[in-house]
Point group: C2
Chain length 182, copies 2
């Protein structure tokens, strides 16, 4: 089977209206011409991109984090993650977030995937990494983050994905990918 | 280990400013009071929610779809999915999308997970299902969808997640969850 689309699926932007420029997201409306010549509009949330890590310690435990997620209106159990800041490479963001959120430095980092979180309306692409050979950085975790660190054995974390206790898509994707390479 | 947070992590909304009401997304800014008494703002993309299915035919092939994703500016290979319409239950949306996108009805549907796609800024929760006992509905697929159906054996689809050829988070989560229950 060919891996190329059989037809031209591309939509071309013919006009753009800017709605909002924020700290984490922007919003614009694109008018597009469809492949068949028709017209439509696309609401697009602009996001700089993010990284997430599955940090596994020497005992095989994933250092997960628990935090309030205001859009979800609940506390979620996730892998550590963060938005790229201006001028940062994904690897730099990853190292910064691991220190801020779980107070560790990773001596080894392997790339697992680059995934769009919501490609129907958001530009966000999140790089997912396996982080190992962890070293505690005493006192470096950012107390302002309002985050709790929860160490969970990788197999149990995967089981929590299957049982519905993990409710974050990047976390499920990251944990199952990490389990498949270890 | 306790499964309850050790401290109150909840943020309380003290004011809301509405920015945009659209067809697929809305946008609002919440001012929040943090657990420690401090203040912050949260940019929140409002979304009605969605469903996605891993449709597996009697030959063990996943009926995946290829479509242009304007925010990503590329054609992505995904599992069929769609946004809830007003008044629809997730199961109704699922059945509608399977007919529209891949031209099949599923006689059997199993719930795999409910996942937040981007809980840092979006309210979107996506229900993920395994759909089997598929029946073709000739002529029912919606020609306007500009979608190509791509049947891929489940094991190969999982391998494509590991190799980086699948770049959509819900698709990676759904395929790996489906593979773990079959």
């Amino acid at each position: 089977m060919s891996d190329e689309p059989r037809q031209d699926l591309r939509e071309r932007t013919t006009a753009t209206r800017r709605i909002y420029e924020g700290r984490i997201v922007g919003l614009r409306i694109d008018e597009v011409r469809l492949p068949d010549g028709g017209k439509s509009t696309r609401e697009i949330v602009e996001h700089r991109g993010a990284v997430a890590a599955v940090p596994v310690d020497s005992d095989g435990r994933v250092l997960m984090v628990r935090q309030w997620r205001h859009p979800a209106e609940e506390v979620l159990l996730e892998i550590p993650a963060g938005t790229l800041e201006e001028g940062e490479t994904p690897e730099e963001t990853l190292r910064r977030e691991l220190v801020e959120e779980i107070g560790h430095r990773a001596r080894r980092v392997e790339h697992l995937a680059d995934l769009y979180t919501a490609p129907g309306y958001s530009t966000e692409l999140i790089g997912i990494y396996l982080a190992t050979e962890l070293e505690p950085m005493d006192g470096e975790a950012d107390a302002d983050e309002n985050i709790e660190v929860v160490p969970i054995p990788l197999e149990e974390a995967v089981e929590r994905c299957r049982s519905g206790q993990v409710r974050d898509a990047k976390t499920v994707a990251g944990l199952l990918l990490a389990a498949s390479v270890r």
